[in-house]
């Protein structure tokens, strides 16, 4: 009876077993730094929160997509040294959701995993961190994951409610109990919606939508312009599905007890129209505002995984790289105009890799709000003073809308907060491959006043 078998029977579930994959000793390494390449990527369909993936919590979503990724690459889970997951909603039952997913997918117990949170860019953070781990030589094979189940963001009770409830439980006799019960007020019963709390920036006190309203006012972006942009997103996403441009990056998810197959993104509407969009009431500023649920991103469930290896390891496993990260940057800005994050981050990333926006063949800007993307386009041409591109106007400049979000964006597909960053990298690489082009930019704004940008480069076979 081997000790391995003994352990297998032990009370704690042993999701993964096997020999430890030996890490490359970074000190023994000679020659240049390792080259990190993105080998494969896949995502679940993005599904509107409350839709068919409602019963699939984040760990399960992540497990599905990582298993799919491993099998698509025909890779032994024990080959993976590390899993990094971007996740914002933080499921209460999985403090470090990355580790839970890694073990449930059969990765070695000796492998490591951690969860990163840079709010909306968590999924991009997982990618840049994975690349850094490989390039430093600390790991040879890393899975970068972005996952969020916004259907499963809990509703909270007020602190006061909890305290009063505790008083009832603690009371020793009927009189005390009745007294404690009597202290409840109707307002105590009002639930605190977790998602609403998550979407408010506690520093500026603004809802995310309010920051977009501010951009719409500052950059003078009309309701009509926003609705037009939203419509464009829907039509492009719907077309992309019709022409099977997105099916290459998605898997079929089987949801819940009914195992209902979900084969496509649920969000894009090919029957979306300007008239329908125009009918929607402004959501955040009910009287004077322009932001509606129609021209803002959808609240969504989804997971995206990328397999990142050093070039040599990919070769050993007979895997052809899809592309690499040519450069990346995170940049901070005023939280009340967090929507301009892409402008700051793109300038920083381009400058660091000595490139210019005009060299980009494809650009993905996350569509948190139509107004926010449109503001970014204007700011690209006319950057704010505290942006690196203010001095060096050649860094950014005008962007051809034809190469922007060619398969639609979060307004149609949705924005599972922790997953979107990973999706942008995947979508950009797959689209570059389809178009047989080389270089693209993926960038997004981050609630709390930051931006993230990566320059992706395809490695042609």
């Amino acid at each position: 009876m081997g000790s391995e078998a003994e352990l297998r029977d032990s009370a704690f579930p042993s999701w993964g077993l096997g020999t430890k994959h030996e890490l490359l000793d970074m000190h023994d390494r000679e020659g240049p730094m390792a080259n990190a390449v993105i080998v494969e990527g896949v995502r679940t369909p993005f599904v509107k929160a409350g839709g068919p993936l409602t019963d699939v919590p984040a760990p399960e979503l992540g497990r599905m997509v990582v298993r799919e990724l491993l099998d698509r690459a025909n890779l032994d889970p024990h080959t993976v040294d590390e899993l990094i997951a971007g996740n914002v909603a933080s499921p209460a039952d999985s403090a470090n959701v990355a580790r839970v997913i890694a073990l449930r997918c059969g990765m070695s117990r000796a492998s490591i995993a951690h969860t990163v949170n840079r709010n909306c860019a968590s999924g991009m953070e997982s990618v840049t961190e994975a690349v850094a781990r490989v390039e430093s030589g600390a790991a040879r094979c890393v899975i970068a994951l972005g996952v969020d189940s916004m259907s499963n963001i809990p509703v909270f009770w007020k602190k006061k409610f909890g305290e009063k409830l505790f008083a009832v439980v603690k009371s020793r006799n009927l009189a005390q109990k009745l007294g404690a019960l009597g202290r409840f007020r109707p307002s105590d019963f009002q639930p605190q919606v977790g998602i609403e709390m998550g979407l408010r920036d506690p520093v500026s006190g603004l809802m995310m939508g309010d920051t977009a309203e501010k951009l719409a006012r500052t950059y003078d972006i009309s309701r009509e312009e926003q609705d037009e942009f939203a419509l464009r997103s829907h039509l492009r996403a719907a077309d992309a599905w019709k022409e099977e441009r997105l099916s290459g990056e998605t898997m079929t998810a089987y949801a819940g007890r009914k195992s209902m197959p979900v084969e496509q993104d649920i969000g894009p509407r090919d029957n979306q129209s300007l008239t329908a969009l125009a009918k929607l009431k402004p959501y955040f500023d009910r009287r004077w505002g322009t932001i509606t649920v129609g021209n803002a991103c959808q609240v969504t469930d989804g997971a995206v995984a990328l397999l990142i290896m050093d070039e040599e390891t990919a070769k050993i496993h007979g895997l052809e790289p899809l592309g690499r990260i040519r450069g990346s940057a995170y940049a901070g800005c005023d939280p009340s105009v967090m929507g301009l994050g892409p402008v700051y981050a793109s300038a920083k990333a381009l400058k660091a890799s000595s490139m210019k926006l005009s060299e980009m063949e494809l650009v993905e800007i996350n569509e948190a709000f139509a107004a926010q993307v449109l503001a970014c386009l204007k700011a690209f041409e006319n950057p704010p003073e505290d942006c690196e591109a203010y001095e060096d106007r050649t860094l950014l400049g005008p962007l051809d809308p034809e190469i922007l979000n060619v398969n639609g964006g979060a307004i149609a597909l949705g924005h599972p907060v922790g997953a979107t960053g990973t999706r942008l990298v995947l979508t950009a690489l797959k689209e570059l491959q389809r178009r047989n082009q080389r270089i693209g930019l993926a960038t997004l704004c981050i609630g709390g006043g930051q931006g993230a940008a990566v320059i992706v480069e395809r490695i042609a076979a």
């Binding site: 009876m1 003994e6 297998r8 029977d9 032990s10 009370a11 579930p13 999701w15 497990r63 298993r67 799919e68 491993l70 099998d71 698509r72 025909n74 890779l75 032994d76 449930r104 997918c105 059969g106 079929t252 089987y254 007890r257 009914k258 195992s259 209902m260 197959p261 084969e263």
Partner: protein, 718 residues
């Protein structure tokens, strides 16, 4: 040097006893180990320094597996009586020990092992899945003979104890705790410390859930006890048809206890053991037990190693009931399993089947919700071939269509790794014809699971002339991993089990035309010891499928398997109406043939008046049904489809439920005698050519040999 009970000086007043048989891989009770336990108890009595005794096993995965079966097999009646009395006495002494005793149960705690544990003052079990508690003596045709029929009802109450003893049901630690059989369940590594604590300061305070009122009443009140015993007896007779004396004797012990107190139970046990030991039923059941144990090791002539140290990755093609069932079996054994079908809807249907089964396991506490998640995590639903490169084994369970199957195997040859073993679960095609034209046919085997796969213990492993030993070894290891009995058989239509069963089913069609009371056929078969009659079986399989199988057999074996005219006719009618309707209608006394079946029989009788007439006794019916089975089995042996008579017996008992107490068809043949069977078949053959004895059977009859005789082990090749 002690044989099984190892101990040193007491530590802080507690004697730590390690149960570890020196001469066997598992712990078991023999006369010698019982006597050694008796001496140990004397030692405890004589030493005042010992204030408690703690028993634990020194063998991982095994507490005490029961009585020593190899010793039991050779013991005579008087010997059995003595050992039973000895055991009762020793366990009584244990129960009466002046100091507290505790059994730390990890692994199999069965039969005598549980009787021993029940005689201890406390029992603590661990939470491992290997930990099983039960009294499975009935499965060997025996009953607990060391006080088990008395102590179990005392601990669990009569209502819960009866099914344990009558069916040999086993419990895991948690189930045992909720039934009151053990005091508590702990993580494995915490057992010993808890044992010491219990011996020094008693059980910690815990809330014990009371049994429901009706159970307490039934357990405690004499009149109700007797009613429960009577009901159980009815149930036993209904399911065993009086073929198995053991459960009835166990009931006798319960009854004696209910009327004249617990001591009466001990005496009944001793008498029962004496009566059962060496009885034909016990002998056959034990023989089957040994055969199934032997079948766990690969046959001696299979020298190759499996393609991997362990089956870690597999795929199942086809998410129908069979495919989903097999995928679930694999996943439960921690195998990463891909479940493929041609579209997401069909995959989804398969997943739902799996969900349902898992949910019911969780509801019955056979599985924790965590284990369910763990199992589901191992199943990856797919509609493509992704991930198959890494699999050790792929099992195909798709539609029974030769062209589609061939295409799938051609695809598989490409989609899988060079060492992946490709198995088909076909039942109506041969493996060779599927493998035809497929690259690397040496990787292809048959793995014929029986329906439903989670219940049926048998898997036929089919080798073709091209199958490599490595592929066969991999398939064999996989079947072992799934906890099934695998029998390696040759490739032919119907393989071993369905081929042998075919003449039996077919003959039922002829008999239907001939007998006056058609229900007599099923009654005769059940009386013989089959789990159900051929008519009921045909309904269960589905008439259209049965007709399809019959056509296949006819095509492969010619006239002797020509479908009976009635089957042919009904098959046509059913195929036209799209299957569905059954042969039999109604239940109990209202059971009868469906009207259109009766009409068809009348029609056939008018067209060709049968020569044999309606005066067939049950004995005649049995001979007509079972002798062709033996005949076909003899052919399988002479063709090398089965490698020995033991394989035939085991396969037929595990695959079809063929009268286990008769030891399988060939063991039965040896009991009757080849000569008599051959003569009877010859007589039949005068009017029914299909009954002509096989050459092998005739040779055996001429030599007055036996299928299982050492000297006839190698049958003369025809």
């Amino acid at each position: 040097m002690p044989l099984m009970w190892h101990y040193g000086e007491p530590v802080d007043g507690i004697l730590h006893v390690r149960i570890d048989r020196e001469d066997r891989p598992v712990n078991s009770f023999s006369r010698a180990t019982l006597e050694e336990l008796r001496d140990l108890l004397v030692h405890v009595r004589n030493h005042d320094t010992i204030r408690g005794v703690l028993f634990r096993s020194g063998k991982p995965g095994n507490f005490i597996a029961g009585a020593d079966v190899t010793e039991m097999k050779d013991v005579d009646r008087e010997g059995a009586r003595e050992v039973s009395q000895l055991g009762q006495k020793v366990f009584d002494q244990l129960a009466a020990a002046k100091v507290p005793t505790v059994a730390l149960i990890s692994g199999a705690c069965l039969g005598g092992g549980l009787e021993f544990a029940m005689a201890c003052q406390y029992r603590l079990a661990d939470d491992r899945s290997k930990t099983k508690l039960g009294l499975p003596e009935v499965k060997l045709g025996l009953i607990p003979g060391w006080g088990g029929t008395v102590r179990l009802p005392k601990l669990m109450g009569l209502i819960d104890a009866m099914p344990m003893i009558l069916t040999g049901k086993m419990l895991n630690g948690f189930q045992a705790r909720s039934k009151g059989l053990v005091n508590d369940v702990l993580p494995h590594e915490g057992l010993e410390r808890a044992g010491v604590q219990v011996l020094t300061s008693g059980l910690p305070k815990m809330r014990v859930r009371k049994r429901p009122l009706w159970k307490r009443l039934m357990n405690g009140w004499g009149v109700l006890q007797k009613y429960a015993i009577n009901q159980a007896e009815k149930q036993v007779r209904r399911t065993t048809h009086g073929h198995y004396p053991a459960p009835l004797l166990a009931l006798k012990s319960f009854r004696a206890q209910a009327t004249s107190g617990t001591d009466a139970g001990y005496d009944v046990e001793v008498d029962a053991i004496a009566e059962l030991s060496g009885s034909p039923v016990t002998r056959e059941l034990m023989r089957l037990f040994f055969l199934s144990e032997a079948a766990k090791k690969p046959p001696a002539d299979l020298k190759a190693e499996p393609n991997a140290d362990a089956l870690t990755d597999a795929a199942v093609l086809g998410a129908g009931a069979m495919g989903a069932g097999i995928a679930l079996l694999l996943a439960q054994k921690d195998v990463w399993t891909r479940l493929k079908d041609i579209n997401p809807q069909m995959v989804s249907a398969g997943l739902q089947t799996i969900h349902k089964q898992l949910d019911s396991s969780v509801a019955r506490k056979r599985m924790t919700p965590l284990q369910r998640t763990r199992t589901l995590d191992r199943i990856r639903p797919i509609t493509d071939y992704s991930g198959l490169k890494r699999t050790n084994l792929v099992i195909e369970a798709i539609i029974e269509d030769l062209d589609i199957k061939r295409q799938v195997f051609r695809d598989l040859a490409e989609a899988t790794g060079p060492e992946t073993v490709l198995a088909t679960n076909t039942s109506s095609l041969t493996v060779s014809e599927i493998a035809e034209g497929v690259p690397s046919p040496q990787r292809i085997v048959g793995l014929h699971f029986f329906n439903p796969p989670h219940q049926m213990p048998l898997v036929e492993i089919i080798r073709t002339s091209q199958t490599s030993p490595e592929a066969l070894a991999t398939a064999f290891a996989a079947v072992q991993k799934l906890g099934k009995t695998g029998i390696i058989v040759g490739d032919c239509a119907g393989f071993l089990v369905n081929r042998i069963l075919a003449p039996y089913m077919n003959e039922a069609g002829y008999l239907l035309e001939e007998v006056a009371d058609p229900l007599e056929i099923d009654r005769a078969a059940v009386e013989f010891g089959m789990p159900m009659g051929p008519l009921k079986l045909a309904d269960l399989v589905g008439l259209d499928i049965a007709a399809h199988v019959a056509e296949n057999m006819f095509a492969a074996y010619g006239d002797r398997m020509k479908p009976a005219p009635l089957w042919e006719k009904l098959g046509e009618m059913r195929q036209k109406s799209g299957g569905g309707k059954r042969l039999l209608q109604g239940k109990g006394k209202k059971k009868q043939l469906a009207p259109d079946v009766t009409a068809t029989i009348e029609q056939l009788r008018r067209a060709a008046p049968s020569g044999i007439g309606a005066a067939l006794s049950r004995q005649d019916i049995i001979q007509r049904l079972v002798y062709p089975v033996i005949n076909e089995a003899a052919r399988c042996l002479e063709e090398g489809i089965a490698s020995c008579a033991e394989d035939v017996d085991l396969a037929m008992v595990f695959g079809t439920g063929f009268a286990p107490f008769r030891g399988g068809p060939l063991q039965y043949a040896d009991t009757v005698g080849a000569k008599q069977i051959c003569e009877t078949l010859d007589q039949y053959a005068e009017s029914m050519l299909r009954m002509t004895p096989a050459a092998a059977l005739r040779t055996l009859a001429d030599d007055e040999g036996k299928f299982h005789d050492e000297s006839s082990a190698a049958l003369p090749a025809a």
